[in-house]
């Protein structure tokens, strides 16, 4: 188990252990809707603690949500109205019962409709697979979490922005080239962030990263032109194969590259590492 996982485990243990003796009232809510010619879908997810799984749904489905939750603490909602879905758990804030075990949310999004996704969650383990979903915008905001974001298939929409904001968290985002995003914004307080830009490149991407304290690993396929600008304080930078011109680092093929990745990094106390991946880039024919 990684040190990060161990810390998360201990944290959850502290929350869970003292009150294991009392009973919980577990409920399950499922809500699903078939695709009926919707032009777009806005999805707002709010989830406190537990596990989140987001994945592409079956053809013909608009969405499918399943929530397992402690009814003594939370009330679920899955409201669909005018091409907008709100799903999650809310608490009246009055209950004094301690949260013993987080719930579980599984959300599947259909492949037919362009989606604007807003995902907000607290202390959670999130597995988010957006490969195969037509994503126009994504905003993921999290507190203390372990988030794995994957784009295993190319996004047929050009994504305007992929925003990742985390407090104390581990974020592993892989296949980001498949996200087909114009802009990626990452803000991290404390934690460890992996941004993997392998996949199918269809356009250039700008990445803005603000790190507090932690490590940042950039996995970049060879063949992509890379420019890294950094404004950091007490942050080591392992700039493998990048050439410094002025205050900016460039890959040697920056001027000739078909696709370019521009990265601006700000941060304090931590490390930045660039890893090159062979054969990790595909371009659209």
């Amino acid at each position: 188990m990684s040190s990060r996982g161990m810390i998360l485990g201990i944290g959850l243990g502290v929350v869970l252990l003292p009150s294991l003796a009392t009973a919980q009232e577990w409920q399950t809510l499922t809500s699903r809707r078939q695709y009926a010619g919707e032009k777009e879908l806005r999805v707002d997810v709010e989830f406190g603690a537990g596990q989140i799984q987001l994945e592409p749904g079956a053809a013909g489905a608009l969405y499918e949500a399943q929530i397992r939750y402690d009814a003594e603490v939370f009330e679920p909602y899955a409201d669909y109205n005018a091409e907008s879905l709100r799903v999650g758990l809310k608490s009246d804030g009055k209950t004094k019962k301690k949260l013993k075990e987080g719930g579980r949310l599984t959300l599947k999004l259909g492949p037919e409709v362009p989606v604007d996704l807003n995902l907000t969650f607290g202390a959670a383990e999130a597995e988010i697979e957006l490969g195969g979903v037509r994503i126009r915008n994504t905003a993921i905001k999290t507190g203390a979490s372990d988030t794995k974001l994957r784009f295993s298939k190319p996004n047929t929409e050009r994504m305007e922005a992929l925003v990742l904001h985390a407090g104390a968290a581990a974020i592993h985002a892989t296949g980001l080239a498949n996200a087909n995003a114009k802009r990626v914004d990452v803000k991290g307080g404390v934690g460890d962030v992996l941004l993997d830009f392998t996949g199918e490149w269809r356009g250039d991407t700008e990445v803005h990263i603000e790190m507090g304290l932690g490590s940042l690993k950039l996995r970049i396929p060879r063949g992509v032109g890379v420019r890294v600008g950094k404004d950091t304080f007490l942050m080591s930078f392992d700039s493998q194969e990048l050439v410094k011109r002025g205050n900016t680092y460039y890959s040697t093929d920056w001027d000739k590259a078909n696709h370019r990745l521009t990265i601006d990094i700000g941060g304090a106390l931590g490390s930045i590492e660039v890893q090159w991946v062979d054969g990790g880039v595909r371009t659209q024919d």
Partner: protein
């Protein structure tokens, strides 16, 4: 007996209602099995201990809601049909259906729901018919509820039947309250029993221990953060305090001890002195808030200085030659020194996880940790005062050269 009698009457009324209300649909049930069900646009299923609900939105725009709530109460489209006589069987069957529906593909859901057969219960059959009617579109689902309840008026035809219905509703309500209170009483009994017996829960100790370790780690993280900032902006002064604490440990301790006793009198006398002098009155406004702040900052600075000294001392013992140079920096000293100073707290919390039988060892470790912390603060505070906040470090000078006059040696040589 009374309850059974009521249920029989209810069953008779509901049966009649069902026959009158959805008779046509019921009569045509074999045909329904072959009819194409209306497509389900959206569905919502909620299953919990005392509730199992199904909400459907159909392709023709209708919305249907079917549920069993509060144990055995059957609801269709927001109307309560009644309490099922053979409730447990119906409830189980309905919950099984909804659980299967949650996992079934969307296109198979209508067939799955239509295929459901209720147990041999009149209300269950009414629920079944309402579901089938909704999905086949051959009869509206909504009338199912009034149909089941309506016969009360036709059979009774007077106020008596209405009273029985109300009485049944009241009985169901009271039963629910009774169940809720029984649950609450059971939980209370368990809690009281556990508290009275004083069962030594291992989880309790482990939880406390982990919480203690985490809180110590949090303090450690905060102190390390402050320490790094101090090293970054004022390494020279921190090293001055650390050197003083290291080389003048006893003296720093005594000065710190004396200062801690004199703090309050000094503060009061200073305030009085400023107050009685006209010039000092404006300074009093600064003295009162800043004196405590300065003392706290000096104490923290001193504590970090002691941590630095401890870390440096440890590094000298652990690393030699090139390794020493590699590791030897103030960040490392602060990091390791604070770990040394807080290590006993961690050890005490770890021992606490072992259970109450290790209480003595835990107590000893906690006591030692407190004494060590107090000593570190006192020595550090004294070192801050002695070294003027690190600007004039008190370091024992290195051994001096023997006092030999070189000229004399050369002169002696020249005489040879």
């Amino acid at each position: 007996m009374l309850r059974t009698a009521f249920d029989l009457r209810r069953a008779a009324r509901i049966l009649a209602g069902a026959v009158l209300g959805v008779g046509a649909a019921a009569g045509a049930s074999p045909a329904q099995g072959t009819a194409d069900p209306t497509a389900i646009i959206a569905n919502e299923i909620q299953v919990s201990r005392d509730r199992a609900e199904l909400k459907l939105e159909l392709a023709d725009g209708r919305k249907v809601e079917l549920a069993i709530r509060s144990g055995y109460d059957v609801w269709v489209d927001g109307k309560r049909l009644g309490t099922a006589a053979r409730g447990e069987e119906l409830r189980r069957s309905w919950r099984e259906l909804l659980n299967r529906a949650m996992d079934s593909p969307a296109d198979e859901l209508p067939h799955l729901l239509i295929a459901w057969e209720s147990p041999d219960d009149e209300l269950g059959r009414a629920l079944d018919r309402a579901l089938e009617a909704a999905l086949t579109g051959q009869a509206p689902a909504a009338p199912a509820a009034p149909a089941a309840v309506a016969p009360a008026a036709t059979i009774g035809g007077d106020d008596w039947s209405d009273s029985v219905a109300k009485l049944n509703a009241r009985i169901a309500e009271l039963e629910k309250k009774l169940r809720d209170r029984a649950d609450a009483a059971t939980q209370t009994t368990r809690y009281v029993r556990r508290r009275d017996v004083g069962w030594p829960s291992p989880l309790h100790h482990i939880g406390h221990g982990i919480a203690g370790v985490l809180s110590t780690l949090a303090v450690y993280a905060v102190l390390v953060g402050i320490g790094f900032v101090v090293v970054f902006f004022g390494r020279k002064y921190l090293e001055g305090v650390a050197d003083t604490a290291r080389h003048e440990t006893v003296r720093s301790g005594l000065v710190g001890l004396a200062a801690s006793f004199l703090l309050l009198p000094g503060f009061i006398i200073g305030a009085i002195a400023l107050a009685i002098s006209i010039v000092g009155i404006p300074l009093l406004l600064v003295w009162i808030p800043l004196f405590p702040v300065a003392v706290v900052l000096a104490a923290i600075f001193g504590y970090l200085g002691v941590a630095h000294a401890a870390g440096e001392s440890l590094a000298e013992r652990r690393f030699y030659g090139g390794e020493w140079f590699k590791r030897a920096n103030s960040y490392y000293y602060v990091l390791t020194g604070l770990a040394l100073l807080l290590g006993l707290f961690i050890a005490a919390n770890v021992v606490e996880m072992g259970g109450p039988w290790l209480g003595f060892i835990r107590g000893m470790l906690t006591f030692l940790a407190v004494v060590l912390t107090w000593a570190a603060f006192t020595i550090g505070f004294g070192a801050v005062l002695l070294s003027r906040a690190g600007t004039k470090p008190r370091v024992t000078p290195p051994p001096t050269e023997p006092d030999v006059d070189i000229r004399e040696i050369f002169e002696e040589g020249s005489h040879v």
